[in-house]
């Protein structure tokens, strides 16, 4: 459905004027996208955990992170949009999330070798889960359209990416902390934005919806891990 239920009703003038069938069909389509998204999201997260476990067992070098994330990013930009409307899209999303999981392995091995590392990883993992579940639950029950956040979130993300590029060469831990905190906040905003777009019919493709939510979860986890690592003197 191209229009959200709310927009549809607004354009028709009143709720009473909207045919009941149209409302029911719209609600059914939204529920289907939402159900498929959460199902695919849970499977891709599980798959990432498996590839991360394999990567940790094989003790792959730190360069794996850069290569995996780079290839996953290129696939997400150039391959995924061409395959989202076919069954090949499922294979591509699993390849992307598998690669991102593989890249996590070396990072997690570094944290595990630190004195409080396992505790930090567990806290970051639990924290990410709580943030995602709470924000998704809020977006699902608030019945609001958070698509007005789009401009603010994308502009904020651009600024943070530029700061992150600068900090690769500056190496300031204070700036790293600010960037991590900003990414956690922005990705939290993206969870509200993406979930609200699914509910209001702005996103009707469950593969793209899964990709958006997965990236938010992945970025929250990485940055929470980094923030807790810095603050915990690791």
């Amino acid at each position: 459905m191209a229009l959200s239920d709310r927009d549809y009703m607004r354009r028709q003038g009143s709720v009473a004027a909207v045919p009941q069938d149209a409302i029911q069909q719209g609600a059914l389509a939204t529920n289907k996208v939402l159900r498929n998204t959460y199902m695919l999201l849970s499977m891709t997260l599980l798959f990432s955990a498996v590839t991360a476990g394999i990567s940790m067992m094989l003790a792959l070098p730190p360069m794996t992170y850069l290569i995996s994330v780079g290839v996953a990013m290129i696939m997400g930009i150039f391959v995924l949009p061409r395959t989202v409307n076919s069954s090949a899209g499922i294979g591509v999303i699993f390849a992307i999330t598998g690669l991102l999981g593989l890249g996590l392995g070396p990072l997690l091995n570094v944290y595990l070798s630190l004195p409080k590392g396992p505790e930090t990883i567990a806290t970051a993992m639990g924290g990410t889960g709580v943030i995602f579940l709470a924000l998704s639950g809020y977006a699902l029950t608030a019945k609001r359209d958070f698509s007005f956040l789009g401009g603010f979130l994308f502009a904020g993300f651009m600024v943070v990416l530029i700061a992150a590029v600068a900090n690769i060469f500056l190496g300031l831990s204070a700036l790293a902390m600010v960037v991590s905190a900003a990414v956690i906040l922005l990705m939290s905003g993206f969870i509200l934005f993406d979930t609200s777009r699914i509910i209001n019919g702005g996103q009707t493709n469950y593969i793209l919806a899964t990709y958006g939510l997965y990236l938010s979860i992945f970025n929250i986890f990485i940055n929470l891990l980094s923030l807790l690592g810095i603050m915990g003197d690791e």
């Binding site: 850069l66 994330v69 780079g70 505790e119 806290t123 608030a142 609001r144 698509s147 956040l149 807790l228």
Partner: protein
């Protein structure tokens, strides 16, 4: 030397990401729907919750 190449690789990836995301960022800046009354409060409240929760996690790791 390896570390330098890692830094250059990371920067190249992020710059590529900025270039690719730029049109989407411009599109959303121009075409975002206007917030209705109470929308900003509804969005900022859960984000404030996230800030407090992260602060709690930081305190847990430091203790």
């Amino acid at each position: 030397m390896d570390l330098d190449w890692m830094k250059i690789g990371q920067a190249a990836l992020l710059i590529m990401f900025i270039v690719v995301l730029w049109p989407a960022a411009r599109w959303w800046s121009k075409n975002s729907p206007k917030a209705e009354q109470g929308d900003w409060t509804a969005a900022l409240l859960p984000l404030l919750g996230v800030i407090l929760f992260v602060a709690l996690l930081v305190m847990m790791v430091r203790s």
